[in-house]
Amino acid sequence: MSAVSPNVRLPRLEVTGRVAFHRVLLSEWTKLRSVRSTKWSLVVGFLLTIAFPVIFAFVTRSHWHSMSPGERAGRHPLDIALAGVNVAQLAIAVLGVLLISAEYSTGSIRSTFTAVPKRLPVLWAKLLDYAIVSLVLMVPAVLASFFASQAILHSIHPLQISFSQAGVARSLLGGALYVMLVGIFALAIGAIIRNTAGGIATFAGIFFVLPPLMNILPTSWNNAITQYLPSEAGRQLFALHHAAHTLTPLGGGLLFAGYCAAAIAVAAVLLVRRDV
């Protein structure tokens, strides 16, 4: 450590400002980019989104000649292109939880709320920053995975699909939007639970444990209920086939956004009320 300067007078600060939302947004962006776990989660999320479709496409191409007609019919180019979304959502969700839970585990939330004692701007800024970052990351990722998988599958005619074909652009952008909303939902969960392990477990419970649990129910009940689960509703944003017991892309997307809004509302109320 360097020697402390003998002059202990605090230099005056010429410029003084006040807390404003665009400033909190910039502050939260600085926090987001200045921690290693962020960079790793984002890189992993990005790579998984592209890597899975690429592998899937290669495997499909190499086994195509030995597949039965039934198997071949079961393969859809968009399924392949969006195969990474289900995996990438985990990386984005974990980071979403961490963005706020790590503030509690390290105690930096006290610094944060000392600088912005009204607290809510911090939540809005985190959500907006993360929404922008995950969308900016996921849109190119799904586009890259689409064009990469299509390039790998170029020799297999039935699996060729044009970007301009109905539903293709919607599914791809829907996939990116879905991952973004998952990140938002996870961030809200993190703000409610305030603990990394608990937040991730809660997220995993809602997204990965609840849906298979529905299979215990009689089919009619299962079909009636499952479509309204957050994960199932959100999935319709990028789903290709719509059954009688699934929501439309718009309906599912809106319902999922509604779940996100509800989680954010609970997080906001608790954030203002609880001691830090």
């Binding site: 450590m1 360097s2 020697a3 402390v4 300067s5 202990v8 007078r9 605090l10 230099p11 005056r12 600060l13 410029v15 003084t16 400002g17 006040r18 807390v19 404003a20 400033r23 909190v24 910039l26 502050s27 939260e28 600085t30 926090k31 200045s34 921690v35 290693r36 776990s37 790590a102 503030e103 390290t106 105690g107 930096s108 939330i109 006290r110 610094s111 709320f113 000392t114 600088a115 912005v116 004692p117 009204k118 009320r273 001691d275 830090v276």
Partner: protein, 307 residues
């Protein structure tokens, strides 16, 4: 200026802060003194609006902390508990704080230089020693050039040079007319730094006094006397009002309320031989310990009586 009125905080069954009323004035260093666990840190969290009081009220510079539009210019604070993300560099930690108020980057570098962290500013704070962490906390407190500076145990983990530096800094800040509120569980530290003391024990206010008064009270007249005629000496000394005795070893007694000169002259007047006459200087530390211990015991007795 910090004004607390009947400030009270319960955590479940436990009352951490109990009806504190005090005012911290600008232009002087006010020490906030109490044993560990007496409620100092809780009081500071209440001042910063991090915790909500169960009852009562506290304002800084005339407003609730939460109602300030530029809190970092009003209050610079260092909390005892770590409040830095261990994965972030010191520079980025301070930058993120500065950005909430539009404080320029050069100010961040300025406070980093001031606390002597320039060489490690880009390192992750998880690798910092306790002393470096304290310096970073002080840098954060000074970032906004605040009117009020509130530091929780700032010299914890600092080397002697750093402690000396903090003392000078605090005195300098107060001399500029700022409000300076510093907690410590070390009386000796406060005696060197503070002008005024707010002493608490078990969340209750014990003393709100100038350091000079506290010192005067602490250096009460106590004399240890050894004599072959202790009994007769006690009789003749007892004529003075306000005198009391505490039995020491056999043949000696502790006289409270008289100076060594008074005791010696009284003994000479009555022809009593003295084998020892030693003024007892209670240290500030002892005085503080007595004060807070009494409070703790008193509170315990009250609880027993209530039970």
């Amino acid at each position: 200026m910090i004004e607390a009125r009947e400030l009270t905080k319960d955590y479940g069954e436990k009352r951490a802060v109990d009806g504190l009323t005090f005012t911290v004035q600008p232009g002087i260093v006010t020490g906030f003194l109490g044993p560990n666990g007496s409620g100092k840190s809780t009081t500071m969290r209440l001042i910063l609006g991090l915790d909500a009081p169960t009852r009562g009220d506290v304002t800084v510079n005339g407003r609730h902390y939460r109602d300030h539009n530029a809190p970092l210019h009003e209050v610079g604070s260092l909390l005892e508990a770590r409040s830095v993300h261990t994965g972030r560099s010191a520079y980025n930690h301070l930058l993120a704080l500065a950005q909430t108020h539009g404080i320029p980057k050069r100010r961040v570098s300025e406070v980093i230089d001031l606390v002597g962290l320039r060489e490690v500013a880009r390192k992750r704070t998880g690798q910092f020693s306790l002393g470096m962490g304290q310096r970073l906390g002080i840098a954060a407190a000074l970032l906004g050039d605040p009117k009020t500076v509130m530091l929780d145990e700032p010299v914890n983990g600092l080397d002697p040079e750093g402690i000396h530096w903090v003392r000078n800094l605090l005195k300098g800040l107060a001399a500029e007319g700022r409000t300076v509120f510093v907690s410590s569980h070390l009386m000796s530290e406060m005696a060197l730094t503070a002008d005024h003391l707010i002493v608490i024990g078990r969340g209750k206010l014990i003393a709100d006094t100038s350091v000079d008064d506290f010192v005067a009270r602490a250096s009460q007249k106590v004399v240890l006397v050894r004599s072959p005629e202790v009994g007769r000496l006690r009789e003749s000394l007892a004529r003075h009002p306000g005198v009391s005795f505490v039995d020491a070893d056999r043949g000696s007694v502790e006289v409270h309320g008289l100076t060594a000169e008074q005791v010696g002259e009284e003994a000479a007047a009555d022809g009593i031989a003295l084998h020892e006459l030693t003024p007892q200087q209670a240290s500030l530390e002892e005085a503080f310990m007595n004060l807070t211990r009494d409070e703790v015991e008193f509170a315990a007795e009250m609880e027993e009586a209530a039970a």
